[in-house]
Amino acid sequence: MLSTRLLTKRYGSLTAVEDLDLEIAPGELFGFLGPNGAGKTTTIKMLVGLLRPTSGSARLAGIDILAEPEKAKARIGYVPDAATLYDKLSAREFLEFSGDLYHVEPRLRDRRIATLLKLFDLEQRGNDFLSGYSRGMRQKVSLAAALLHDPQVLFLDEPTVGLDPQSARQMKDILQDFCKEGKTVFFSTHILEIAERMCTRLAIINHGRLVAMGSLQDLRQMVGQDGQSLEQIFLELTGSREEDVSAVLRGLEG
């Protein structure tokens, strides 16, 4: 469903993502992990067509994302990390706009909007301006917009940030149901517990380079210790600095 070959993004002398090779099958819930500044958001933005790779290629459902961006984007749903929405539109109006942009037929669009607003408990607030929405509610609206055109691949950048536990749970259920239909979810997160419980496969990126990819079991085998939690694996692969931190903190006391 989604594959990248030697995908690279450079900003001058800084390499944000380097030679990234990914292969993701239909129906997979793929977790993309990495410390701050590792290149997660840059990768997602390249895959959804917001950034142009410096080199390498990416294909989605057999379509070259670089060569045919519009064709690829029609199959993609995207939820950014901090979704900036149009403040002076109501949620319903924003979803209508989004549906039109993705060429959803008006009657089908309206039916889906009603379903999605109900699904996200936003029915009562559907006509409120987005300026009055909390961060979590905005996150729900942007997920609804991403689902509206029935995409084949859903990209989510830190989707659970700002969500209350109930909504986070609801989002997990939605994503799992989405994958059961043979569609793919690609999401980045800092919350390793969520990734551990939800994802069929994981990739860990550090300093722009892929350091590990596979199921949780694969990753455990890679670090050579069974029964380890994802957090331990993550820290091991990305380089733990617990001791350094303690030393620095002790230094501050003096």
Partner: protein, 560 residues
Amino acid sequence: MFSGLMSGIDVGLLLWRAQLRMFVNQTLRSGKPGRIVATIIGAAIIVLAWGWEALITTIGVEAARRFHAQVDVAHLLSLAFLGYTAVLVFSSLIFSLNALLLNPDLDLLLAAPRPVASILAGRMVLQVLRLFLLSLLFTGPALLVLAFANHNPLIVIVFCALYLLYPVFVVVIISLMSLLLVRVIPAGRGREILTLFGVILAVGINLLNFLFNPALRDSGFARRSGPPSLPDIPGASAPWLPSGWAGRSAAAALGGDWGSAVGWALILLLVSIVIFAFGTALSGRLYLAGWIQAVPPRRRTLAARGPRRRGSIPLLNPVLASIVIKDWRMRTRDLAQLLRFAMPVVFLFVIFGLRFPRLLSSVQGLGAGPAAAMLGLVPAWILLFSLSISLGLSAVSLEGKSIWVYAASPNTTIRFLEGKCWSAALPTGVLVALVAVIGEILIRPGLTWAATAVLVAVAQAASVTTLMVGIGAVFARFDWTDARRMMHPAGVFIGMGLFALITGASALLLAISLALAGATHFPLVTTWLAAVTVSVGGAVAVAALGLLIGNERLRGLELG
């Protein structure tokens, strides 16, 4: 109280250094060639303006010497300081309310282990220093010329002292007023209230200027009888007003009366110190008393009256229609955006509406013909100038940080620009056509001339607005949080220049057609229609070019 005052000055200087550092980092030390070049060009323009100001002042000084003009210098300067007070009130109000309602840095500063009063006083000091620098920027060369002409460098020193002291009482009073004002401003409406203040001030000044400035009280196109005179406020130089102290001190310095100059300046200094010290203490108490900041704004919801409007426009592609409707909603629901629409119409009313009876009697005698038809387009062109700049140039930037919504969708950038052209050109075209039709109905130049003139106006509205959308795309800003910063100054400058070129060329072509008909005995209709065709065709070609350049910029855009 004295330690609070000194601590306030200390914080103010700290903030001033930080601001200077930010300015240098964003310009000369940015490492971006474009910014460095822009800074150098800006500096060169300032130097040129200074040279011009010095020249004008020198001519003024020479003229005053030769003709021995009888002017009450103290009153004139007091009047100038009183006028400056209006600028101070407005800028201080915006500065204070911005700091209290919108800028997050005040919380950061207040978390520092310094008294709250000293932080607030520090911001006042910062504002005074900014105003001082602005005063010097505007009048520095004139002061140097005056010092040189009077062989007295002390003039510069006295004026500098007055520039530094005079804003203090206004800044302090307005800061205190702002602290009281935020208590009654609904939470979450700060930006709108600030915009409203700006509008009231702009319209108010224009209206007052129009109604009370004798220089503007003429009868339509008729010549004024007698020389123009400046508006006067007799109380401006009163000895109990700060403007009077400053004006008298400045006038005494120019006249070489140093005793009076220092005396009046000392009064200003003492009053400024007392007001600053009391203001500092009081502002700390007022701030700590708090106000309802955390209460979320009232829920704003769509009116539930009648059936809701659906997002479609007949004959327009659904994607384009959705962009037009979305932009219309954004522009009409946000006060700052709505003003981009409303202000040009309001100013058109101030310019033409208030003089309507006189103007009507002047134009009705023009008779029929193309020249009269062209004259009828003047209000439409003024409106087109404002609307094409405000709506066209800002159309792409209007997306702001939400641009990702479109960028992630399966549509091309040219489709996006098409939508933006419709979104800006539709309202502009309708309003311009309306004003052009009204103008032609009032002037009655004959049906053919009026119809073709309106056609020219509508075609120009569509093409010029399209061109502005293209320029707006080249200079688009998506990271703005304040609607006033949506448009790039270079884009505005280029847009204005191109507007002048296109409409100027169009007017010239139409004028040439009249001259050509007279010289060659061709039928006037033929040459006129030829000029109209070439004018509209040229504008459309330039607009298409602008759009292509804009599209190239958007195609290369990366939302990192």
